[in-house]
Subunit: 147 residues, 4 copies
Amino acid sequence: MPNLATLLYPDAISRVPLTVRFVETDLMGIVHHANYLIYFEQARVEYFLRRGAVFEEWAQRGIHFPVVESHVRYRKPAFFNQQLMIDCWLHEVSRASARFDYAIYADQQQLTEGYTVIACVNSQRKLQRVPDDILALMKASESYISQ
Amino acid sequence: MPNLATLLYPDAISRVPLTVRFVETDLMGIVHHANYLIYFEQARVEYFLRRGAVFEEWAQRGIHFPVVESHVRYRKPAFFNQQLMIDCWLHEVSRASARFDYAIYADQQQLTEGYTVIACVNSQRKLQRVPDDILALMKASESYISQ
Amino acid sequence: MPNLATLLYPDAISRVPLTVRFVETDLMGIVHHANYLIYFEQARVEYFLRRGAVFEEWAQRGIHFPVVESHVRYRKPAFFNQQLMIDCWLHEVSRASARFDYAIYADQQQLTEGYTVIACVNSQRKLQRVPDDILALMKASESYISQ
Amino acid sequence: MPNLATLLYPDAISRVPLTVRFVETDLMGIVHHANYLIYFEQARVEYFLRRGAVFEEWAQRGIHFPVVESHVRYRKPAFFNQQLMIDCWLHEVSRASARFDYAIYADQQQLTEGYTVIACVNSQRKLQRVPDDILALMKASESYISQ
């Protein structure tokens, strides 16, 4: 878990479990590096869902959050069938984008860290301000449920 | 679970849990059909591991099991974050190949069924007889641990 | 190419090229078996597009074609960077479903064959009749362009 | 193409074509962001192969190059069936690692850019010096063929 004292939004964090699939590993049983962006996404989606997000409703309002930047640092390999824990937290949020940070652990060791920046765009993919209700949801703890 | 009375090897079955990843679904939240072969593989690998298989040792002995045939019947969709149970059992085994059958369930309902045939080949990909120790492992219950 | 004399709809065929990606292979450079369903899909989508299909328009009309059955027979392996040719043809079409067959070739050799059955469903996933315009498109040659 | 005048190794560049697969896109036809790491890998592998690399031989010598860091900036979306060009070049190389940079283009426009850092490790995943012959290969132009 990151040092909460250093976080801008110390409540805005979720921990998500995930088990490595066989197909995600190579013949030496090591997870292929592209899968970590998929693990990050899995954690981020879960982060939103635990706070009450309904993506279909956002899409109907013309609100989309494509990833515009990603960064991963791979420290130790993850293996087939390994149980991973992913911490996902809001690092910062600006007018039209937000950065989420991630740390992946297994057996008390940190394996990987990284971040993704998502932008708020409309259905024509033009940047727009993050709506207030979604901003509140992003900054909230897991006990928050959006209306 | 299949009707055990109809199985040739009623002990040769394992049940494997698996949670659907976001990336495995489309925008309507439905699992893409190619992923079921990956779920089947995940269950089959787990089937072997629970009986003590060490794939690296098999590879060193020049024993490989590529999939030579697959069949899937998709009855109901699976959704993001859904908890699935996969039953995997030995349907039949011949001199140089084996067929495993699968049924996938969620919320007491069967979603999908299918099978894959794996062939036993050497490192030059020539068919060879399934070795006796691996044959015993394939037919065994989960309480069996190969030496 | 299949024997056209044996086909119910001998014009209803397309040939689609495709190059194997590194990620689709294992450490021995052999394509993972689940990818063939993805290659079949790539060929089938291209089959529809070459006849003028506009999937967004179908979706707006509440017409969807999920895969309800798939079968693959893997004869020879495909390798990294290999140039494949996929033949995709309409095998048969009924009131509410259609079966497409596939054969994959490399270097004049057939590697793989299989089929997928797609069902015609509405937005509530209930079976419906294949609309006449789409039926005509499915049965047509590549020179056909739907309106 | 990057400004060659700014490159440390202006010959050490390759351009690799690639066509977007249906499965790599979402329902709006836009490539999922994790696939760009796969496109980068495809280009980097091709970069090595064009200079005569034989990965199996490297593996036998106990030389492996896992990705230890990745970064992607997504500027414009890529679409189904779009023909992409990926430029891949050596940005810098140190004792035990190398950074490759990438730019992806379609229709004369740059869509994406990024880099991956690969480390040179032995079969126990311990860092080791990049061997001289592989260093020469990495810095070379496409006309170079390693022995």
